[in-house]
Symmetry: C2
Subunit: 220 residues, 2 copies
Amino acid sequence: MPSDHTRSAILAAAERLYADRGFGDVTLRDIVAEANVNLAAVNYHFGSKDELIAELFVTRSIATNRERLRELKAAEEQGGGRAPIEVILRALVGPTLRGCLGPENQRSSAARFMIRASIESVPPIRRIKNREIDHLRKFAGAMRRSLPDRSDVDIYWGLNFALAMAHHTIRESERLTKLSEGKCDLDDVEGVVARVVSVATMALTAGKTETKAPSRLAAR
Amino acid sequence: MPSDHTRSAILAAAERLYADRGFGDVTLRDIVAEANVNLAAVNYHFGSKDELIAELFVTRSIATNRERLRELKAAEEQGGGRAPIEVILRALVGPTLRGCLGPENQRSSAARFMIRASIESVPPIRRIKNREIDHLRKFAGAMRRSLPDRSDVDIYWGLNFALAMAHHTIRESERLTKLSEGKCDLDDVEGVVARVVSVATMALTAGKTETKAPSRLAAR
DNA sequence: GATAGTTTCATACAACTGTTTGAAATGCAA
DNA sequence: TTGCATTTCAAACAGTTGTATGAAACTATC
C-alpha cells in the first residue's frame, strides 16, 4: 500500500488554489509549491495537468450525483414508483445548492472549487459535463412518471429551468447579493432550494388541471 | 480620416475566431493571420489582447443593453410609468435571447461570440460584466413599480431567475437539444422568450392576489 | 517635393507553460 | 545485504505566448 501522501497533497493543494484563484492563473508550479512536492510529481501521479483537474471534478461530481439519485430513489420507492414533482426537483437541485452555497466563511474548498468550475469552465471539465446527460435522463424519466399528462417538451423545459435557476444562483451569487444590497439571503440554503423548487414546480404544473391538492407554491 | 481598415479587419477576424474556437485556443497570431495584418497591429491599435477582447464585448453589450432599455422605456411610457411585469421581463430577456438563439446556420458571428463569452468567461469580460449592476437596477426599479405589493427580496429573486433561465438556455442550448432529442425547438426564439417570460412572471406573481386580469401563463 | 505624423512590418524578446529525462533516493521482498 | 520496483528530485526541454522595437512605408500638409 503506497502511502499516497504526495498524491493527496497535490489534490488538496490544487483544489484549494483553484478554488481561491481560479483555473486561469494557477500553474503546476504554484500547486507543487503549495503541496511541498516536486514539479514532476504531478505528471508522475496524474499524467497531465488536465487529468488532475478532471480527477478533482469527477470525484466531487459523482458525490453530488450519487446524493441526487439517492434522494430520487428514496422518494420514488416511497411513492410506489411515482414521486411528487416537488420532491424530484428537490433531489435534483438540493445537493448541488447545498454543496456550493451557505455561509461563505465555512464553505469547504471543495465547494468553492465547484463554484469556480461552474464559472470558468475549462476544457477537461467541459468534457466531463457533456457526459452528464445520462444522469439527467433519469430525472426526466422520474418527472415524466410524476406528471404523465405533461408533454416531453414541457418536462425538458422544466428540467432545464430548474437547473438554470440553481446553477445561475451559484454562479452569480455574489452579484445577486450586491444587486440586492444583501437583502437576498444566500446563506439560507434551504430557503434558496425552496424558492427554486417552487418556481420550477410552477413552470411544470401551470396551465393544466392539478391532480393533487394545491401545493404550497410560495417560498420561505 | 484614417481608413481603419486594419482595425476593423482585426475586430472582425477576432470575433469570428473566438466565436468558432473559443478564447482558450485562439492566439494573436491566429487572429492576425485571419485578418491578413501584421502581428504588431493588434498592440498598436488596441493596446493589448485583453483590450481587444473587451472592445468586442462592450460593443455588443451596449447594443443589447440599449435595446433592452428602449423596450423598457417604451413600455413604461405607454403605461404611464408603470408597465406590465410580462413586458418588463420580455424587455429584459428578449434582446439577449434574440441575439444569441435562432437557427444555427444563420447566427451571426457576433451572436456566436456572445455565446462563447457566456460560456467561457475570461477575465476582461468578467470585469465588464461586473459593471452591469447599474443596468440591472433599472429593471429592478421598473419591476418594483409594476408590482408594488411585492417585497424587494421577491423582486430580486424574480430578476435573478429570469436572467438565469435566459442565460442558461443560451449556454446549454446544445445540451438541451441533445437531452430532448431535438424535441425542444430552440430555433423558435419567440417561443423560448415566451416560456422564460411566462415562468418568471409566475415566480413574481404567485402567492399574492393578482391585481389585474389573470395573465396568460402557459407558453406557446 | 520635402516634412511631419501615422501606420505597417519583420523580427526579436522575455517570460512562462506543461512535460520529459535520467539519476538519486526510498521501500520492500528474498 | 542484495536486488527490484516504486517514487522523488533537480534540471532541462521545447514550445508558445503576448509584447516591444526600430526601421520602412505610407499619407497628407505646407
